[in-house]
Symmetry: C2
Subunit: 428 residues, 2 copies
Amino acid sequence: MSDPLRLGIAGLGTVGRGVVRIVQRHGELIAARAGRAIEIAAVSARDRSKDRGIDLSALAWEDDPVALAQRADVDVFVELVGGSDGVAREATEAAIAAGKDVVTANKAMLALHGQALAGLAEARGHVIRFEAAVAGGIPVVKALTEGLAGNAITRVMGVMNGTCNYILTRMESAGLPYETVFEEARQLGYLEADPELDVGGIDAGHKLSLLAAIAYGTKVAFPAVELEGIGKVRIEDIRHAADMGYRIKLLGVAQMTGRGLEQRMSPCLVPADSPLGQLQGGTNMVVLEGDSVGQIVLRGPGAGEGPTASAVMSDVIEIARGTRLSTFGQPAATLRDPVPARATAPAPHYLRMTLVDKPGALAKVATVLGDEGISIDRMRQYQHSDTSAPVVLVTHSTTRDAIDHALSRLPATGVLTGEAVAIRIEKV
Amino acid sequence: MSDPLRLGIAGLGTVGRGVVRIVQRHGELIAARAGRAIEIAAVSARDRSKDRGIDLSALAWEDDPVALAQRADVDVFVELVGGSDGVAREATEAAIAAGKDVVTANKAMLALHGQALAGLAEARGHVIRFEAAVAGGIPVVKALTEGLAGNAITRVMGVMNGTCNYILTRMESAGLPYETVFEEARQLGYLEADPELDVGGIDAGHKLSLLAAIAYGTKVAFPAVELEGIGKVRIEDIRHAADMGYRIKLLGVAQMTGRGLEQRMSPCLVPADSPLGQLQGGTNMVVLEGDSVGQIVLRGPGAGEGPTASAVMSDVIEIARGTRLSTFGQPAATLRDPVPARATAPAPHYLRMTLVDKPGALAKVATVLGDEGISIDRMRQYQHSDTSAPVVLVTHSTTRDAIDHALSRLPATGVLTGEAVAIRIEKV
């Protein structure tokens, strides 16, 4: 059996604690599988005296993650500090410079600096692995990078922020408005310190951009992700969607179209009886589609101590076994610049608007839609007040451009009260 | 870039044709991902003149798979002949002896001889990979061997025979008896030449035994799998199950209990609204449970040219990338002899029986169940003839032993007409 693989773990929050627990609990099991022992040489965290419920007495301590990353007795730097920049990035760069492999759960850092970091590491023959950064315990980075490596990937989709899915699920089941459930989620501690990372779709967008790079052999292009959070999802949209057999999910879609790479993270309607539609609460789901394999669906816990630590250990054991993969499935230097395309893949759309209650109102709307080449699949008018009526339409497949043109022309018809809302219906 | 990796493909049926197509179609994509070109050096099949819709003109031909396995210009022997013994095994052994790595889709061969073949290969520093042997296009071997390597696996479950799931789904949706749907499936070409491989649970049992070896670090123990096919599943059981919120699936379960390794492949009831319960038609699903990760669900096509070839290519690209994994996740020489345990994990059970229509009949049944420590969760009596009444019970959690004791005592009560049927309800 080879020498032990020695870890330096920076960050002892939920995930770091989980990694320490697995290494301490499963030493024998892991050694049997990895072909060598895995040991923790040293750790680093903000507060040495804090009781974390784990025994750190046998481990060296560094106050400074950068010093940890540079220790001679560390083979793999495990970055669990978080944050796109600052000490996480500094320590990761230091680890690479010092000749270490890196395992990280840091989606923000990789979404913004993954290209540069992977380039640095690969130029020196080191690896950066990040299974824990995307969809928690689901081994989706591995499935996409390796399991589907023989496929031209046609689409990647995912519900990858458990907090948003919890909020949307809870809105539907309890019939509560967004603001109320948002406040509940905050009190339950489900939200990041900056909640916009969750509900604005940023965190999920980071993850999508990482999967897109692997899927299409393109540089990570997080700024090109079209981001729309869940803050505008109204309880009546959830109800109308359910009424027509759909659920609303914060869905990420990465797709290579004739015009370029489309990356969207936005609320979408999906069939209520599809695997994505049936996903409840904080669970994550990723759908991978390839030209040979067809559709693969992966479902599992997207966060939490055990699941995320499990993903970190997958990368650590991979390195211990001697597997050396490029961060994004092919050398960073060979990744192409993606041509960003804005929502060009056509799809049916859900439209909600409130019409003044007078003859000919619907005809005017239908005319505008028809002028833009949008045909109507289904329409429902709901119970209404004396003066206005909520109307919900499902269109046949059309582009976002056509929808946006139509929406911009609708106010001029004079038959709408308030704004019309359009949500894409993703075929799943 | 390194030298090309050269394949020798034995077997040009559905899967072999698919592999040739992927290599020919995606040369550039695969080379970018693998870091080297992948080429087909030579092929072998039964009939050279057969038109397979693929261009073999540039490839060397061998009539004998053993000769193919020994060719100097072959690096990886791709075994797609099938069958547990005969030429598949002979050629695989020849390939190992000749210093080749092996990629195979052959579950039967590995379930019966995997331990010996892996031992042979590993003693010589070669690898045998078999992603395509289990659940077609779903990268489940990789997910279990690598993605969950940091977990003590607590349970592996799977619906891994698409034909059986098609038959059970179709029985429910069309309300047809087993025999009719079996005949339909035969005419559609869904069944193996020996249908017992499918409907007897043997094929799915092979797959389960391979996953169990990885999960628990034990030698492949296919003969220890408790096999029960779907031939005894009656349409009324499917109906009664649906009536109580369940579906019947041919479900494989591998679980390490206090008494040893339990491996079952048998019809089970699962909640209709669970991912397993919602699985329709020929799709496969594998559920992996680990102590840290919790539950991961993988869903995808379990058979067919594209999906199976995709899995073969995953292994080929893994080898091209330089990854060298033990066949079962740890060296074959270190796999332990499993202690087989027969269905000791307790579970609720579904019981169906027909009682004579006279006072006290149900009380006698309840007494027998009570004597065996079996308590009743739910009971339904269905519309009946003048002289007898079908009764369906769902028990609380109990062992198969207790159920079997009760079943053996029921005839002596004199209140049953016909046989009582018991089906396990697996908690999913």
